[in-house]
């Protein structure tokens, strides 16, 4: 397995020396938020869209990634003439707090102990902390109200938190393939991912940097397991079926019983090994925990509708038929919660066999939904 340390790259960012108060009570300072923008902010500053990335995404939304050399994670959705049209909208994408692509996270030096990174001592953060860090950037850009906040999966959680925490700042919200709270099943999957990292001998109690090591095997296994949950049985069958890479009974091929026999295995191993090159294990732990904490109803007797009472935000909830990680039943809970708050809600379930990852892939009905919802909302907001 690849053992190289992720390369250090200077990411465009804003630095907030005064930092911010976290939900856990800790004052994190300084706070750095790495971000990218696309398109042009209008003179009236009314055409800004924040796109929130998912667990392992980052701010490189619609351009070649400086580390992987691959296209941005949503470059098929965001760009000139695309559904999130950068000829029309000013798009901001920020690396989440706790991440490892330039925003303050566990890999950064801690202010109180010279020469040491935060590591496992990085304070626990929440989805709301991530959103508050993003708001620092939005404020600094002089944007009083966002036209829209859009995101899938954990990005969808941030969309909901934006709308709940700063209702007057969000004109339209598009939570995609997400849920009003992280389910027990999803917490369970995250826990398996974390235990895989802890079980790696290179973990060294989280102080792996002291040994010049990276818990690459644990992180790769975590990614492999998680990746299965992002797909669907149909998608795996369509892509790989039972196809074999090499004939396992071929004596000349000196292949062990547990070598890469099936194509799906080598695909997952590739997913795992390429992931550890760009991600930090402590970031993975911090962010998965933030997802686990997410529950819109937690402060409201379990009622996720209460944060939205009186909201004027227009919502568009999207789910996918084959998504079993954030199934339509959870999207429907969210839709009904927003109905209880008499919010303006659209709710679409897109027919797809691609599983949770469908929101990142080619789904023409989904593209039409994103484009149409934003156009309709722009008409109501009287912009562009």
């Amino acid at each position: 397995m690849d053992q190289t340390t992720p390369t250090q790259i200077e990411h465009a960012h804003m630095l907030f020396p005064e930092g911010m108060q976290l939900e856990c009570g800790f004052r994190l300072a300084p706070v750095r938020v790495a971000y990218r923008t696309y398109g042009t902010l209008s003179a009236a500053r009314d055409n800004a869209i924040v796109v929130c990335h998912a667990l392992t995404g980052d701010q490189y939304l619609a351009e070649t990634h400086p580390l992987t050399g691959k296209p941005g994670w949503w470059s098929r959705m965001v760009g000139p003439g695309l559904p999130i049209d950068t000829d029309r909208f000013f798009v901001i994408c920020m690396n989440v707090l706790g991440g490892c692509m330039g925003s303050t996270g566990p890999r950064d030096p801690r202010p109180d102990v010279a020469g040491e990174p935060w590591g496992t001592d990085f304070p626990p953060i929440t989805i709301r902390d991530m959103v508050r860090a993003q708001k620092l950037v939005v404020d600094a850009l002089g944007i009083a109200r966002l036209f829209a906040v859009v995101g899938g999966s954990m990005g969808g959680m941030q969309v909901l938190e934006w709308a709940a925490t700063f209702p007057d700042m969000v004109f339209a919200a598009m939570p995609i393939a997400t849920s009003p709270f992280h389910s027990a099943q999803n917490i369970a999957f995250n826990e398996v991912s974390r235990q895989a990292i802890f079980a790696d001998p290179d973990w060294h109690g989280g102080r792996y940097w002291e040994q010049g090591a990276v818990p690459a095997r644990g992180l790769a296994v975590a990614r492999m397991m998680a990746h299965i949950t992002y797909l669907s049985e149909e998608a795996l069958t369509r892509k790989f079926g039972r196809r074999v890479r090499r004939d396992p009974y071929d004596k000349a091929g000196s292949l062990s019983l547990f070598g890469e026999i099936f194509e799906v295995e080598s695909y997952l191993r590739h997913q795992g090994s390429s992931f550890v090159r760009r991600f930090d294990a402590n970031s993975y732990l911090t962010i998965t925990r933030a997802m686990d904490y997410f529950d819109l109803g937690a402060e409201h007797d379990g009622d996720p509708s209460r944060p939205f009472h009186g909201t004027r935000t227009r919502f568009c909830i999207v789910s996918f038929t084959s998504d079993w990680l954030f199934p339509t039943s959870q999207a429907r809970l969210l839709a009904r919660a927003l109905n209880r708050a008499a919010a303006n809600v659209s709710f679409v379930e897109i027919d797809s066999d691609k599983g949770h990852d469908a929101f990142l892939l080619d789904e023409p009905d989904f593209d039409r939904t994103v484009r149409g919802f934003l156009s309709g909302a722009a008409e109501h907001a009287r912009i562009g």
Partner: protein, 201 residues
Amino acid sequence: MRLDQRLIADMIRPGTRVLDIGSGDGALLDYLFRTRGCDARGIEIDMREVTRSVAHGLPVMHGDADHDLAHYPDEAFDYVVLQRTLQAVERPREVLRQMLRIGRHAIVSFPNFGHWQLRLKLLTSGRMPMTAVWHTPWYQTPNIHPCTILDFLMLCREEGYVVEQWMAVDEDGERAPWRRSIRLANLFGEQALFLLRRRGH
């Protein structure tokens, strides 16, 4: 937009909050927003129609009259519209109750089972009547709760709803001339259209 939808739109005051249950292609929503300045939202059971509506920028959610109205707060809307669907829901009386709980007014249209052609066909053939309006055989029809205009009026009386306006229209939505006599409307009207409110409002 169908002519009967135009009649429905004429019942709705500009600038009000409207929920259209069974919004279909969204024609009424679009009309209410663009020409009346209404905050018009839809619920639709057919996912293709939902996707098409949202792709046109209309606020529509997937759902149906029987299961999704209970989640709205009281008087969330000024008007709740149910077009040509009452006869196909599981519990029509409960749906009406919900409509008049979440809305100050309910606008309901339904095909009239009291039409003379249906009466005559049942009388002469002894079989379930089939007409242009009632065109699916009994074993396939989604219309599990057909009623006549008089039946509907009786239900409104029992439930304490005030009929603010009613009209009988033909299938194309042209307003029919029998406006004075409800008995004649029940005999000659193909579709009925009612504007209701709760007593005491």
